[in-house]
Subunit: 426 residues, 2 copies
């Protein structure tokens, strides 16, 4: 992430404040939000304080039923589309206007925590409860969305429900995904009764906002409360196969080796150096040696490469640098194959502005940030004006039972969410 | 291996030639040796031209029976000790003198070739056949040995039969070894009827010679026919565990990472650099990432480290350098544990001299070499004057179906073996 100015309450965007409707005394209830987070953490709670709530499993059905009940108790109608995405509708004064959506996900990783995704949906619920308690009617309708299978942990790929909604995948593709036990998405969704009748992708939004924990350490390091998310990094995944020559570790002199692991080591370090100098990121998370043996020089190594940059051009440059260094290290002994390409996402300027203005209004220490992780908003941004709000998480940790965010940060993020939604819903 | 002068026939060691007895017209039959190598390759032959003859298995029994028959056909008596080591005795004029032994092994790796170990035993058989055909009687008796389980592929550790013979392991330890199916060494040796009655370790030798393929590329590169093996490198095996911090590959800036795989890559390269500059060897053949995932920065990596040097002092220096560089890279996040230590072996000067002299006499292009691999001779050198003879193998390859040596090199090595034995048996 390149250094970006930290926005604080002392930097007033006075002109924009005028755009906010006059009901400025609406404040969310941070204590109620926190209780709700702790309440839902029981659906799939693990002994170590984490949550295991795999997509379309028993615990996912439990929280879906609970979510529907909570929304209906606020007078919302809830409908479900054919891939299980849930939409809670809160009418506006203008029944025909496109609604403003708040959305994230309620599923977790197998060793997940209490906040990733969940915060965004429950913050939306808290927004609805606040509006309900105040008897507040927005001009546009509001929709609170629980997107199916954001994590991709049970059914790959990730962000499947929002992806089908946005037309990135089709329904048949989603239905055909299988879990590790061979159970298909289609079987699983029918087993828990969450195949809805609403055609997928037919809900249109005037805007969507997603509140999420940062899943990184930047906000915490900079003592920022709110991340004004301007977009999502471009990312590409590659598989790299390196062919050397297996040989005896004891009888092959150092100058006569063709050691595929030494090549891999050099490439890993050089790619990271290139990423540093070009302002991007390079990560190898998987590496395996074919027929590994302690006294055999590795002859065949495969590894993953994850390259990211805030801009497409930056990622192109980083990719070229990495291709060059691989060629330099291995000549034609290496094969690099791209396995996934996710272009950079730039969120909607008006939505970003609504978030920034709300943060400033509430005295939050805010900074702009580009998301390093993927979120449902990546796909929704293709079909609706979208922005995200980040709050810090402890040590930048997520996908972990120790995932943690403070009550204060959750409350601040939710207040900014409320203000942002109101700014766009008038 | 440090560069060592190549000895050729043009460098005459005239003084030493006098030590050889007058029957200088004894020449081995290279064609017969080759036919025998091809004949035995049928015991455990694999479709790809390799040999799979695991210790104490069905194919090992076949070649043991065959070996006994061949030796008895030459008038030898064969006895077997309690760990299955086979000894074929050829009487000398002095029946009370300690015999000169020729030994190696007939077992192979699961994906082994036709030469590793086998050449040494069959060359000994060719020496016996040559002496038999000539009606030649040596002063000392000769013994041809097939050592049990040199490979260690079915029953770890390697060099087990010679190790028990030399007192490095005891009989109970050998008996307790189990294979991957849970079958013990004791069960396997009894199943094929090769638990002999000769007490193990009671055979004493005036000297032992072992002919072996180099299992490395040095002789081939230098166009040498014969390696005069002066000893075996010191080697130590280590396990290294590195603890970093798992984190999201997309949301953790490069300067906030604690990437255990990047640490490992740096250590692998730096250890190899240290080995190069100190004249030793460093190899990492195994590396694994705990819970690898393509978009997670590795938090825990374990790897093997194999360090070798021709001298103990050299290995101590290399080890210190590697410990320092690990500390520098990782501080207290790394744990290095030694799992095996094999001291340097210096072969017997008189036996080495016999090999060198024989090579010179027969016009072989010879060079001194230190073995990088372990052999039965490592342990036998503890209880008897020992030396080894290497011949080149194609591309330095072994433990591979493609393992290959030329008929000419096999013949030259066997002639040198014959001469060396005669030099010490008079």
């Amino acid at each position: 992430m390149s250094p970006v100015a930290v926005f604080t309450a002392t930097i007033a965007h006075v002109g924009r404040l005028k755009e906010i409707p006059p009901m400025q005394n609406l404040t969310i209830d941070g204590e109620r939000l926190w209780q709700t987070i702790m309440e839902t953490a029981a659906f799939g709670a693990t002994a170590d304080g984490g949550v295991r709530r795999l997509t379309l499993g028993r615990e996912d059905k439990q929280i879906r039923d609970w979510f529907r009940d909570q929304c209906e108790a606020l007078g919302c109608t809830v409908d479900v589309d054919t891939v299980g995405n849930m939409f809670a509708h809160r009418p506006g004064r203008d029944r025909d206007a496109l609604p403003i959506a708040i959305g994230s996900h309620l599923d977790t990783q197998p060793t997940g925590g209490k906040f990733d995704g969940i915060l965004g949906v429950l913050a939306g619920l808290e927004v609805f409860r606040t509006l309900h308690a105040a008897g507040y009617e927005t001009e546009r309708p509001l929709i609170l969305v629980n997107w199916t299978n954001e994590e991709g942990a049970r059914f790959a790929p990730a962000m499947l429900g929002s992806g089908v909604h946005a037309g990135v995948f089709d329904q048949a593709f989603a239905d055909s995904r299988t879990d590790a036990d061979g159970v298909s998405f289609a079987e699983a969704i029918e087993a828990i009764g969450y195949r809805g009748s609403t055609p997928v992708g037919k809900k249109h939004f005037a805007a969507m906002f997603e509140l999420h924990i940062e899943q990184g350490p930047v906000l915490e390091r900079e003592n920022a409360d709110i991340g004004v998310v301007t977009g999502v990094q471009a990312m590409r995944w590659y598989d790299l196969a390196i062919k050397g020559q297996e040989a005896h570790a004891g009888s092959t002199p150092m100058d006569m080796r063709c050691d595929a692991l030494a090549d891999a080591s050099g490439i890993i370090l050089a790619a990271q150096e290139a990423a540093r100098s070009l302002g991007g990121m390079a990560t190898t998370g998987q590496l395996s040696i074919n027929s590994p043996s302690r006294n055999v020089i590795p002859g065949h190594v495969t590894l993953s490469l994850d390259l990211r940059h805030q801009s497409e051009e930056g990622l192109d440059t980083l990719e070229s640098a990495v291709v060059d260094l691989i060629r330099k290290q291995c000549g034609d002994r290496a094969q690099l194959q791209i396995v996934w390409n996710s272009p950079a996402v730039n969120f909607d300027p008006l939505c970003i502005d609504a978030v920034r203005t709300a943060a400033v209004k509430w005295g939050a220490a805010a900074r702009e940030i580009v998301s390093g992780a993927g979120h449902d908003s990546v796909y929704i941004a293709r079909v609706a004006p979208t922005a995200m709000i980040f709050v810090p998480c402890k040590n930048g940790l997520s996908h972990n039972p120790a995932e943690s965010a403070t009550i204060d940060h959750c409350a601040k993020g939710t207040q900014v969410l409320l203000e942002s939604v109101l700014a766009r819903a008038h």
